[in-house]
């Protein structure tokens, strides 16, 4: 089907009805796609914005169902909300649905994102008062639990979600304990130097932060409500609410057997959002965007990066939509310099680039003591990322330096020098080894026969 015929009569299926799916649908219509558009989402709600869920919603300022995403244009789509996709049949160009239905399409956008990792002990995870925080429903339930003034809240894991939730608890005047198996909060995304500052912020706000500590067990009362937690430091806590903020899991299970490069780290694709098949060969009609996409990035040694950020969803959706309907010579590349933000303990945190790609850090501007500063991350003499605490007004300077692969340390500022301007190790934890990655084997001899196969490990 040539470009214009496809734009008039083609059929596109988008699986995933959150930020990426909605923005892609709007962009497709903006690109002049007039064909049939199906949007499939496993959540029953209209597309909504997630960043407020761990902030304004949890605090009780904004009801959980009031974060619907603004619509940028009419999408005239066939919405299938509350129905999960269960399989992809590439040979017959079908998406199979949980209700037994099918959605046929000529081109597919995979935007199924991630879900919250649950507490690994299923019985304990099922106790009342044990929460995760990813969806609007999660936020509504957790907000109600916090509003009931629990004696103590336990937050397991101190990434961004855990830290923001801890901040809200303190703003609400609730006693809160945060356990972190690593050395400091936020040290995965921002390293140990910044993590130490985040830890000071938490403790100064009255959080009972316990680093290097894990939770051994959650115990319930006769009514099945969580009441106690046993910690690896030997202590026992009386708690009424537990938030397990343990990171995310990519929603790739429905792609089992679809023959795509889909697994623990996401769905592999090229920098133009075209999915790779299991052999690493680029496909023509399957596209990927948002949290689940994993693409080589020119600025980061062409390594495959997944970027679970808001701007990656929005810009990835635009690029994918464009490339789904454009001529081959007109393809765009998704060359995002990723940014993300967080608000916690009265501090606005912003980051640009990929700090965790760096191994060194240097404070550039402002004052660490006053909690207003900019810091740059470097690797092998090149700037790869930056973070600001209450200093976001300067972040574009670092973004431009990163975009042009500028030197590290970057050209120093002319004023407002930090107390200590040495280059120091950024102190990231060693990259973890995925425990659930399937083994891949290569079989066959003749070039026409050689292919890869997943041999999933048996999970216990």
């Amino acid at each position: 089907m040539n470009g214009n015929v496809f734009k008039d009569n083609g059929r596109i299926v988008i699986v995933g009805a959150s930020l990426t799916g909605l923005r892609a649908a709007e962009a497709l219509r903006g690109e002049g796609f007039r064909g049939h558009l199906t949007i499939i989402g496993d959540e029953p709600d209209e597309p909504y914005d997630r960043p407020p869920l761990s902030k304004q919603v949890l605090k009780g300022w904004v009801p959980a169902d009031h974060t619907k995403l603004p619509r940028l244009r009419r999408v005239d789509a066939d919405w299938r909300l509350g129905v999960a996709a269960t399989a992809l049949d590439r040979a017959n160009r079908l998406v199979r649905l949980a209700d037994g239905g099918e959605a046929p399409g000529d081109r597919l956008l995979i935007a199924t994102g991630v879900r919250a990792r649950r507490w690994p002990n299923a019985e304990e995870a099922a106790l009342q008062g044990v929460f995760t925080l990813r969806t609007s429903g999660d936020a509504a339930r957790l907000q109600a639990a916090l509003a009931a003034r629990p004696r103590r809240v336990l937050i397991i894991g101190s990434g961004f979600i855990g830290s923001e939730a801890a901040s809200v608890c303190r703003e609400l005047g609730l006693e809160v304990t945060v356990t972190e198996r690593g050395p400091a909060p936020l040290c995965g995304p921002l390293g140990g130097v910044i993590g130490a500052i985040a830890a000071e912020m938490q403790r100064a706000a009255g959080v009972d932060l316990r680093t290097g500590v894990s939770v051994l067990a959650l115990e319930g009362d006769a009514g099945g409500h969580v009441r106690r937690a046993r910690l690896s430091d030997g202590s026992t806590l009386d708690v009424d609410v537990v938030l397990t903020s343990l990171g995310s899991i990519r929603n790739v299970e429905w792609l089992d057997g679809a023959g795509l490069a889909a697994g623990f780290w996401g769905v592999g694709c090229d920098a133009g959002c075209r999915a790779l098949d299991i052999n690493g060969v680029v496909t023509s009609n399957v596209f990927v965007a948002g949290d689940i996409a994993r693409a080589p990035h020119v600025l980061y040694d062409y390594q495959f990066l997944a970027m679970e950020h808001w701007d990656n969803a929005v810009l990835g959706a635009q690029v994918a939509a464009h490339n789904m309907v454009c001529d081959e010579v007109d393809r765009w590349a998704h060359l995002l310099i990723p940014q993300f933000w967080s608000g916690q303990f009265g501090v606005n945190i912003k980051s640009v680039g990929v700090p965790s790609f760096g191994d060194e850090i240097m404070f550039m501007q402002g004052s660490v003591k006053q909690r207003r500063f900019a810091a740059a991350y470097g690797r092998r003499g090149r700037i790869v990322g930056a973070v600001t605490f209450n200093h976001a007004k300067w972040i574009d300077y670092y973004r431009d330096q990163i975009a042009r692969s500028g030197p590290f340390p970057p050209p120093p500022p002319g004023f407002d020098f930090p107390e200590d301007m040495r280059v120091m190790p950024a102190d990231f934890p060693p990259h973890g080894v995925p425990t659930e990655a399937p083994d891949v084997v290569v079989t066959g001899h003749h070039p026409s026969e050689r292919h890869a196969e997943f041999h999933p490990r048996i999970r216990t």
Binding site: M364, Q365, G366, S367, R372, K393, W394, D396, Y397, D400, P411, P412, P413, G414, F415, D416
Partner: protein
Amino acid sequence: MKPDEAFDAAMRYENRANPYPYFDELRKTPVVRVTNGIYAVTGYDELIALAHDPRVSSDRRKAHQPNAAEPQMIDESMVEMMTTYGRDPSFIASDPPDHDRARRQCMRFFGPPHAPDVIPSQEPLCQQIVNELLDKAVSKTRIDVVDEFAYPLPVNVICRILGVPIEDEPQFHAWIADAITGLFDVGPEITTEEGRARRAKGEAANLAFKQYVIGLVEKAEKSPGPGMISQLVHDDGPDGRMSPSEIVNNTMLLFAAGHDSTVNLISHCVLTVLRNPWSIELLRSRPELIPGAVEEVLRLQPSVQFFPTRSALTDIDIAGTTIPRGSPIYLIYAAANRDPRRFTDPDTFDPQRRDNEHVGFGSGIHICFGGPLARLEVNTAFEAFLRRVENPRVVEDPPPYRISQVFRGPRQLLIDYDRISPERR
């Protein structure tokens, strides 16, 4: 045309009504060395980058001192104004961390989060003033938009916000006008005999204005009253109290800026629609488009065309040019706003322009402090003008302009009209 020539032409008074062709000429090299070692920045992307570059200072004390023997060393009086007359400059002429702290101290009494109601609560006063001005013009068929419509609104509002007695208006109006004319002329004419006289008059006026503000600050110290001056004097916020010279200089800054730039923007809104009569009908029938139209005038005719405080603290490589350490840098907002790489049909007035991220209020940490107040005032005035003045026509186009290139606007804008309709009560 060489860059020096284009820059000098853009600064020359005879081109004040339309400096834009010379900015276009300059923009052929988006960052370029011009007269007196100034680096003129006319490209949009380059301006944004430098406005966010922590190697660019706004503190004139850190720049190379201009050579007094050289002709056209026009900034000298400004350096003096901003430094000699007070130990601590206002925040527009300072760098972080002092800048951030002083701006925060002022914002405590002007905007969110501590003072969210200050600006919105001016709206009834704005409506009242604008309608009284139009009511006064009912019996006529010609007015000067500058003096009879644009000027009285912002001066009344800024006096109320700062706590300055409006009865003193004839005095301070003359001082501020003379100071701007004499001290913010960065063109070749300032070196003429007439220009030197203007500058001397400006310096004297600035000193008198300063004495006046010092008097207001001392009065507020003795007897607290309403308004920001008194609030700054008695501030007990987390950053403490500003030094007396900072209070004086920041008050002068807010007073002059809040009083002059808005006048020029209102005048340019009126002038722009009179030059594009089709837009009058459009905006009258769809008043919801007025805020966008005001933004478009801010893009085409920014009241502050550039601000000559910035300099490079180190060598800066940008757009194929190296700006040497110490060089003055002019971020020319008026030129970047018409960069065809950023804005399609950049010289066209399009009140429905969708992608209009102009730099009419600047960009970066020095972005206009009073922008939200200016937007309220200008929207109120422009909406009432469009609604009530029937069949307005410009009498003289281009109108005569004020001297300053920095604070650029018509000195007078005569318009004829059929009638002024009564205000709906």
